[in-house]
Structure formats: structure tokens, C-alpha cells
Symmetry: C2
Subunit: 311 residues, 2 copies
Amino acid sequence: MSITVTILGNSSAKPTATGHPSAQVVNINEQLFLVDAGEGVQRQMARCGISALKLRAVFISHLHGDHLYGLFPLLSTLGLYGRRTPLRIYAPRPFGEMLEGFMRLFEKDLPYTPEWVEVDTTKHRIIFENDTTEVWSLPLRHRIPTAGYLFRQKEPPLNVSKYCIERYGLSVSQIVAAKRGEDIELESGEILPNDKITYRPYGTLSYAYCSDTNYSARLARMVEGVDLLYHEATYAAAEKRLAKERGHSTTADAAKVAEMAGAEKLLIGHFSSRYKDLQQLLDESRAIFPNTDIARERERFTIEPKRHDKS
Amino acid sequence: MSITVTILGNSSAKPTATGHPSAQVVNINEQLFLVDAGEGVQRQMARCGISALKLRAVFISHLHGDHLYGLFPLLSTLGLYGRRTPLRIYAPRPFGEMLEGFMRLFEKDLPYTPEWVEVDTTKHRIIFENDTTEVWSLPLRHRIPTAGYLFRQKEPPLNVSKYCIERYGLSVSQIVAAKRGEDIELESGEILPNDKITYRPYGTLSYAYCSDTNYSARLARMVEGVDLLYHEATYAAAEKRLAKERGHSTTADAAKVAEMAGAEKLLIGHFSSRYKDLQQLLDESRAIFPNTDIARERERFTIEPKRHDKS
């Protein structure tokens, strides 16, 4: 069960001829989540071969236009395509008021309901959960209330070792009990502790999206051990002061967060339009955290499952 | 003094990976006007080398998203770029309410004022006028109130023929009087009628944008003699009934309007996403009105001035 992140845009607020503003699609356990929705997001999805109709939910970091303006056209299009299932949109206040205005003035007759779920940007907690997946909010430090999002796979169900099934001649009911986590008593009276006969087929993976934000050591602790970290790096390392003033990070800030968190890999993006050549930004980050890549538009980054082959 | 129309997008409502929704920039007498503003318009302008800061005014045909969603991000960007001059936006009701909501929820501190000018979509009249240019509203027949726009150059000032100046030895004050349209009395008592010694240096040009609309013979009369006509052609000729029901036109409808109006040239666009190959649509229109072209995205169409070389 891999996690795949498709970058639809990674530009900052000033539009350029070459790039699109922030938007990504996260595929986790075959569920598609849209994370931020800068202008042009629906066309970028089409160009990347991602069907907008398959979106399970939307997560908006904050209400600056370069992270949001593409959402309303997308909502209209889903209506044109006949979506019926409600679509949950996780976003900070006052998104509800924007959505209400949009529905009233632009789309009175949508065949589905966009449902706003308010995100408290001061809290680090689970905001979405189902059998396989959880999404946590990450308080960020920007000019307006902003949340990052941490996507985590839940532990997969226990598998029972084939070797043990054969060796101890386990019955179907004993296997089912072991999968539930129980110890097994054999006819001989011998007790098999659950952890001796079961294993998790794969480790859990995680992905964190952190944009827009100042450098935050607290954030690094919240994403500790994350497999893939997207952290904005609007400015080069030399612009530390400007970054701080504007509620943004430098390449060095992003790399430090990745390092402190013990992340497996770092993606940087949201670059200021002043940077035409991104190699310098990448070099700066790699000097601190070598496993850095640029989150280039229309590229896909996959975190491969860590298989536990015990059987 | 030419007129240039740059096509930024010509797709209809359903977005595609290949095209952008309706938007154009009309350059008339070195003034830039944005006509409709589908999603992505600001990036398309950048790709076409057109500075958004130079926009003089915006004309919106109707309030369907595929003609409008790109406007709000553009208004934000003009703020980022520090525009100070108010920007007039000509649009039907209730655009003012949309603009007010946008300003209140997204852009409280814009450094300039977007000013809504209401367009009465039932009237054919001058809605914009300065020394060189006038813009007329064109009532269209769509599902919601919709206006087309007719851009016309005004007559240029009179020039005095160099031949006459030399032949009659006209003084500076006589030349100025002739430019004002007066007849000139020579010392001999001879009267030179103004139209014998003056001429207009070039003829006036016009461009009409007509989208979205059903076929309308009345429209053809309103754009009589237009040099360049953009007329939507959402559907192939065979889909006449569907076009009528949906408030749209076929290729044949567009061509008939061009023919009845005596237009010089026709551009067709706003094609339904069902048409992958546009040649059939072009052929259908050309069968009725040979001088038809497809308004391809990022192409520029120039109407050259008709010079009157009398000097």
C-alpha cells in the first residue's frame, strides 16, 4: 500500500507563465485527496490523468487565493459531471462564508453538496479517519490561520504466519482469533503468544504537507518520523529575515525541519517567482538534508510500502 | 491603427486538458480590453506576453463560471503588482454582489478599486466611449442575461491634402480651420469646400464578440459591416436542436450571422468538449461563410487599417 503525491502546482502567489499555484493530489490506500486548490487545479488534474470525480475529500491549508481560487471552478465542474456524493472540504474559517456565497451566486443547483468541515488551525489532532487512514491537522505559523495536514496509514490487520499455521496445525477459528490479536491455546495446553505467530504485512507510511509557514521546531516534532515531507521554501537561505516577516520559510528552514523530524525524504516548493533557476534552492536544502527533491509540477512522488516478509 | 484580438481561451464549460475557457484581449488604438475571463486567464496573458497591468477595462458577457472564474484571481494579482488606477468591469447584474463578496472575503486591502458598471443586456447602446473608441452592448439570447460587445474605432481627425496645401498656398491658420471641418476662402475669393481638400487618413475598424448566444438575426443587423466577428459555435450544424435548447449556436448559425452582417471575417470558438477534431466544424462554417477561422488559443488576429492615401 504505497502513498503517491502528484504535484499539480508549486508556485507562490505571483502567477508565472511557467507554473501553477499550490495544489496536490494525495493517493493513500487508493483514496484521492486534493490538498490545496490554486487556480487551474482542475485542468492540471486532467493533464495528469486524474479524474476529479474520484476525489474523496479536499483539504485547504489557508484562505489565500493562490491556495484556493481553483476550488470553485472545480466544484462547478463536478456538478456538470453529475457528482451526487457530498464532498467534504476541510478548511479554516471563514471558508463556510465563501462557500455559502459561491453556492448562492454561482451554483444554486449543484447536484451534490459541498460540506465544509472547519479546521481549528491551533490544534494538532485527527480531523479525518476511516478504517485505513487518518489525517491530522498541523498548526502552522503564517500571516493568517493556516493548517498543514499529516496523512497516516493505519496499522494493517494482523496476518498469521503460514509457518506457524502448518507447524501447530491451527484451525480456522484459531487463525481468526489470532488475527483479532488473541493468544492461542493448543490442545496440548501450550500457549502461543499472539506476537509469536502474527505479523503486520507492511509498515505504515505517512506524508505531511506544510505550506505556508514560518520555520517551526514544534512542527518538526509533530511530523516526527514522517516518510515524505512537503515543506514550503519560498525563499533562498539568505532571505531568512524576509521569510520570517512574510510568514514563509527558506530552503534551510525546510531542511532543518526535515532533519529534526527524521523524515525519510523532503520535497520543497512554493518558490517565489524571483527564482528562475531552482538548482541553487535545491543545493541549499541538500547541504542540510541530502534527500531533498523539488516538487516539480506534474511530477509524481511515491512512498513504497515497507514490507515485513515473515511468512 | 489596427485592432488585434488575442485568444486566451475558447473552450466551453467542461474543462479539458488541452484548452482554456473563454477569454480574449482586444487591443484597439493601443488600449487593452479584457473580454471574458475564464479560469487561467492571467496565466494565459503571461504566456502571450500581455501585461495584466496594462488592462484598461474588462467586459464580461455573462456570469457563467467558464467566462468569469479567472477574473477574481486576476484582480488579486493586480493588487500584488500594486495597481492604483481603478479598474472598470462591465458586466450584467448581479456581478456587483459577487464583486462585493470577493472584496469582503478575499481582498479587503486591494490598493485599487474594481468598479462595476452594470450592463443592461436588453439594450444595444454605447457603454464605453473616449476620443478614439466606442464599445456597444449587444443583446444576446442565452440561458441567463448575456451581452456581446462591439468595439468600434471612431473616425480619425481630418487630414489636409499636401497637394492642396501646396497648390493653394494654405496658411497655418487655414490648415487648422480645414482640420476643424471648415471651408476655406482664398484671397482670390474662391471657396474651397472642406471635402475637396481634406480626407480621413484611415477607415474605422470594428470587432464584435458574441458569446454565448442562440442564433439571432437581430444580432446580425446590430453588427452590420463588422470587420471581424467572433461568434460562438458550440455545436456542429447537425445539433441545431440541442444548440437551441442550450442557448448556444451551431457552426451554421455563426456563419449565417456573419453572412447576413456582411462581416469581413468570422472567428468561431466555444466548442463543446465533445469535438476533438475541429476541422469538421471549420468546414461546416466555411461552406456558408468562406472567410472563417478557428479562434485557436494563443493565436492573434489583426484587422489591418484601411488606409486612404489621398495626400
